[in-house]
Symmetry: C2
Subunit: 343 residues, 2 copies
C-alpha cells in the first residue's frame, strides 16, 4: 500500500496539513490536545515524513559531502571517522567521495557542486590541485583541509606543517644524528603540504647550524608505504646512508621501516625514523614509530562547525584560517633504549 502522507495524517486527525507539519517539526505553537490527536494519527498510519519532499521544500538536502583522496589511507579514514558522528549529531548525513588524487575529478567536483549535487556544503581535502584551482567564488559552503592556505573565500583547517616538521627534524638532530634524510618532498604546484614539510626540515637544520645535504631530500609521488619503501632502498644503496629519516607520513615511515629491517639494520640504533600523522599502525609496528600527531578530532570537529556555520549563514562569510594543534610523539623508532614490554 501507498505510504501515508502528511495529508493523510491531517485528514485522519481532522486538522490541516499545516498543523501536522507543526507537530512533526516540534514547533511550539500547538495545543496539547491537537498534538495528541495528531500523534495518534501518526502512530496509527505509521507515518514518516518523506525526506525527499522535505528537501525540495526546504531547498536543502541535510547532507554534507566529505571528499578525500584515498579512503584506505588510515589518516583519512580516521578523519572521516571523526567527522561522521559530528555531522550526525547536528542532523546531517555524510556523503563520501574519493578522488584518487585525480586533479580532473577534484576540479569536477568543485565545479559541479551546488544544486547539481545533493549536499549543502563540502569538506574537501585536495591533493592534485594547485592553489589557483580552488574557486574564487565557491557556489557552495566549502571547508578545505590539509596544507592549503585559505584564499579568503573558504575556510581552511590544518596544522602548522612548517612548525611540526621543524620539530620532528629537530628531534632527530637532538639525538645526535647528523645525516638526516627527508622522504616525501613533492614538486610545485600541487605538493604544497610536502613543500611546507621540507621547509620545516630546512629550518631545523638552519637552527642547528647544520648544512642540508640536498641529496638526502627524496621526492615521492605519493605518501604511501610503497613509495616510502622505494625511497628508503635508494637511500640505503648509497655509500653514505643517512643515520636518521624524517618521513612525511607514517605510511611512508612504515614502508621505510620495512626496508631498513629487511636489510638487517637496527632501528633506531643504526637509523632512526620519525613519521607524521600518528595513525594507529605506527603505534603497533615493531618498533613503534615516533611521529607528529595532529589533533584529528579538533580538525574534524572544527571543519564541521565551520561548514555548518557557513551553511546556515545568509550572507557570505569571510574565509578563515584555522590552525589545529599538533604534538611530537616519541616512540621507539627514535628512542635509544631497548624495547619495553608494552603488554
Amino acid at each position: 500500500m501507498r505510504d501515508a502522507t502528511l495529508r493523510d495524517v491531517a485528514l485522519l486527525a481532522g486538522v490541516s496539513p499545516r498543523t501536522v507539519s507543526n507537530v512533526v517539526n516540534g514547533y511550539a505553537k500547538v495545543t496539547e490536545r491537537t498534538r495528541q490527536k495528531v500523534e495518534l494519527a501518526i502512530a496509527e498510519l505509521g507515518y514518516r515524513p518523506n525526506v525527499l519532499a522535505r528537501n525540495l521544500a526546504n531547498g536543502r538536502s541535510g547532507q554534507i559531502a566529505v571528499v578525500v583522496p584515498y579512503l584506505d589511507t588510515p589518516y583519512f579514514a580516521e578523519l572521516l571517522q571523526a567527522v561522521i558522528p559530528g555531522a550526525r549529531e547536528r542532523g546531517y548525513n555524510v556523503l563520501v567521495d574519493q578522488t584518487d588524487g585525480d586533479p580532473r575529478h577534484e576540479r569536477d567536483l568543485l565545479r559541479r557542486s551546488g544544486r547539481a549535487f545533493p549536499f549543502d556544503g563540502m569538506i574537501f581535502s585536495p591533493l592534485g590541485l594547485a592553489q589557483e584551482d580552488l574557486p574564487d567564488d565557491p557556489s557552495l559552503p566549502l571547508v578545505v583541509l590539509g596544507e592549503r592556505v585559505s584564499n579568503g573565500v573558504f575556510d581552511h583547517v590544518g596544522i602548522d606543517d612548517v612548525a611540526a616538521s621543524r620539530t620532528a627534524t629537530a628531534h632527530l638532530i637532538g639525538l645526535g644524528r647528523r645525516r638526516v634524510a627527508a622522504i616525501g618532498d613533492q614538486p610545485y604546484p600541487t605538493g604544497e603540504a610536502a613543500q611546507l614539510r621540507t621547509r620545516g626540515y630546512r629550518r631545523a637544520h638552519a637552527d642547528a647550524g647544520l648544512p642540508v645535504d640536498e641529496s638526502l631530500v627524496i621526492g615521492t609521488p605519493r605518501f604511501n608505504r610503497a613509495d616510502g619503501a622505494g625511497a628508503m632502498s635508494r637511500l640505503l644503496d648509497r655509500d653514505d646512508p643517512p643515520d636518521a629519516v624524517f618521513c612525511y607520513s607514517d605510511l611512508v615511515a612504515l614502508g621505510a621501516l620495512h626496508v631498513a629491517l629487511a636489510r638487517g639494520l637496527r632501528v633506531p640504533e643504526d637509523i632512526a625514523l620519525i613519521g607524521y600523522d600518528d595513525i594507529e599502525d605506527g603505534r603497533y609496528s615493531n618498533p613503534p614509530i615516533s611521529t607528529i600527531s595532529p589533533d584529528k578530532v579538533a580538525i574534524a570537529t572544527t571543519a564541521v562547525d565551520r561548514l555548518l556555520e557557513r551553511i546556515n549563514s545568509d550572507r557570505p562569510l569571510p574565509g578563515v584560517e584555522v590552525r589545529a594543534g599538533h604534538r611530537l610523539v616519541v616512540r621507539h623508532s627514535t628512542a635509544g633504549r631497548a624495547a619495553p614490554v608494552t603488554n
Copy 2:
C-alpha cells in the same frame, strides 16, 4: 540571483518544459534543431538541474547507504574504497555511516530506513545484531555483508568463513606446529563470524586427527590490535605457550605480533602467526604476516550489483546467498626461511 530553472530554459528557448526535460535526460525523441536551441539556452543561463526536485519527482534519491561498524578498520576502509567507484559509475552517490558496532544504532538504521532516509538501498555490515534482528520484510533493498546467512528476503555476500579458517589452521598444522591457538572467538548470538572461524579451526584439527586444547581458544570483544595484543599476552604468560596462532583478523595478528616481538620471541621460529582479511598493513609489518585474503573487489562489486538490481526491480526479489572467493597468502610470519630483502 536566483538559479535558472528548467522553466526559465524553456521560456528562453521557446519550447516547453517537457522538451527541455527530454533534452536534459537524453531522451531520443528530440529534433536536432530543438536540441540545439535548448542547449544554447542552457549554456546561456548556466542551468543545472536541481537534484532535490528531480529526486522528489522520481521518488528516488539516487543514493545508497553503506553502513559499517568502524571506518578506521582497514578492512572496511578498503571495502568502501571498492564500493564507491562502483556506485558512482552507475550514477549513485554513497552515504556512509558507522555504527561502532552498537546494536541500538544498527537496529535503528534498519528500522528508520525507507522514506525516512534519503537512500534507495543499503549495504550493511552488521556487528552487534543477532540473526533475528534482521528484518523479515525490509522496507528497502538490502544487501548484508559479512558472516550472516541470508534469511531469504535480502541478499548476503561473504566468503566461506569455515573453509577459509580451516585452510588457515591447516596451514599452521602443516608446518608441524602442534599447539595452535586461536584468537578472536566471540559468543552467540552476535559473534557469528567468529563462531564460523572457530568451527573451521576445529575442523582442521579434526582433519589432522589432533585434539583441540580448549584453553588455547581465546575470545576477544573486538577484532582490533589492542585485543590481539591482550590475548597474546595471556597466551605467552602460560607455562605451555602455543607455537602458532590463528588470528581472526589481521589487526588482531598485528597486535599479537607486536607483543610476541616485544617479549623477545622470534616469528615464525618460536611462534607462527596467521591473520585474516589481507589488509595492507599486514604486507608491510615486520615480518609480513600470512593471511586469508578475501576477494574484496568481488565482494564490493557484487554487493553493488545485487543492490541495484533490487532497487530497479518492481517486484520483491528472493534473497540470494553469494560466496566470494578467498585464498591463502603465505608470508613471512609462517615461513621457515629468513626474511628476504623485498625492496
